[in-house]
Symmetry: C2
């Protein structure tokens, strides 16, 4: 008989992606053993973040300030707009430090099966932003999945009339990748779009 | 540039066992998207648990009440005492519903290498409990690892003088286990301690 408070905590934690019932139990035990150094700070950080973090009305990123710290940064390149599916993609690109423009988070991909149309994503808002005369290039950085590429095609069609250059991420063999482990699609693309040395 | 509050939250979460930096980022995003249904309840549950949960002075389990709800239950069998390494083992045995006695959590195993001696675990307290005339049998339910079995040997030697029967968990092929996947040690034990059908 585990205490109901502990059971409740295990149940809540097991709803996080990547944590099942067994790993939540382990996590709760670890928390209980590190009450002052981890459990209380985590409780406070969660409570504070839940209170103050909000969606950026411009790019749909989440941040403690609104507009978010990326949109509020005047030193970024306003001629570049990068479209991503999810905030996690924005974080991943931002971590590389290679992109200095602004973002637009769609919040998902189009899906006829799940009944997700352009209005359910932030596509109308995107088209409005892309029509800004300052924007010169829109990078469609969607996942190389079927849903992602379908959405990318749809976006390219819409963006044609906004008077911007439309680009996409390069596809090919990932850095560190071994050729004999690559799938046919990746290898086909890598050969087709080979570059001069 | 991710907000510092979010970075802080990711860092705290990544200190949980089973969560690395990437999975903590995913978990934080999931939390941010489910702020009212998951993030706030989790913050409250963590804060509350950190405040009210304490170690049971009798068995060293953790619970919201002290002594814990197992030790406080008078309908359990006081003649049986089950020794486990960690609270997670207690939870695992309790979940089977097959044990109705009381527990004693050691809090680890003896380790000459790490300088962990009997006084660092709750072994003196265990011997004191085992000398209670009501206790008839002590089940040594330690892990079947080298450290666990070394500790079990040491405990058996100490418990000899407490006038109790000393038992251990049965070893053999686990339920659902396939013989040709078993290691030699398990099979050897399973054949040696074969039982009548």
């Amino acid at each position: 008989m585990i205490g109901t408070e502990i059971e409740h905590l295990i149940k809540l934690l097991s709803r996080l992606p990547g944590l099942g019932p067994r790993s939540s139990r382990r996590a709760v035990l670890h928390l209980l053993k590190n009450r002052e150094s981890l459990m209380q700070p985590l409780a406070q950080a969660l409570g504070k973040a839940a209170e103050i973090i909000e969606e950026c009305p411009q790019c749909h990123n989440m941040d403690t300030v609104s507009p978010c710290s990326i949109c509020a940064n005047p030193r970024r390149d306003a001629s570049l707009l990068c479209i991503v599916e999810d905030i996690s993609d924005l974080w991943a690109i931002e971590k590389t430090g290679s992109f200095r423009g602004y973002y637009h988070v769609l919040g998902g991909t189009l899906s006829a099966l799940d009944g997700i149309g352009p209005e359910d994503l932030s596509i109308p808002h995107l088209l409005q932003r892309a029509r800004d005369p300052g924007v010169k290039e829109v990078i469609v950085a969607l996942n190389a999945t079927i849903d992602g590429q379908t959405t990318a095609h749809y976006l390219s069609d819409c963006l044609k009339f906004c008077g911007v250059a439309i680009t996409q991420l390069a596809h090919g063999v990932p850095i560190g990748g071994q050729i004999d482990y690559m799938d046919d699609g990746t290898l086909f693309t890598a050969i087709k779009f080979r570059t001069a040395v």
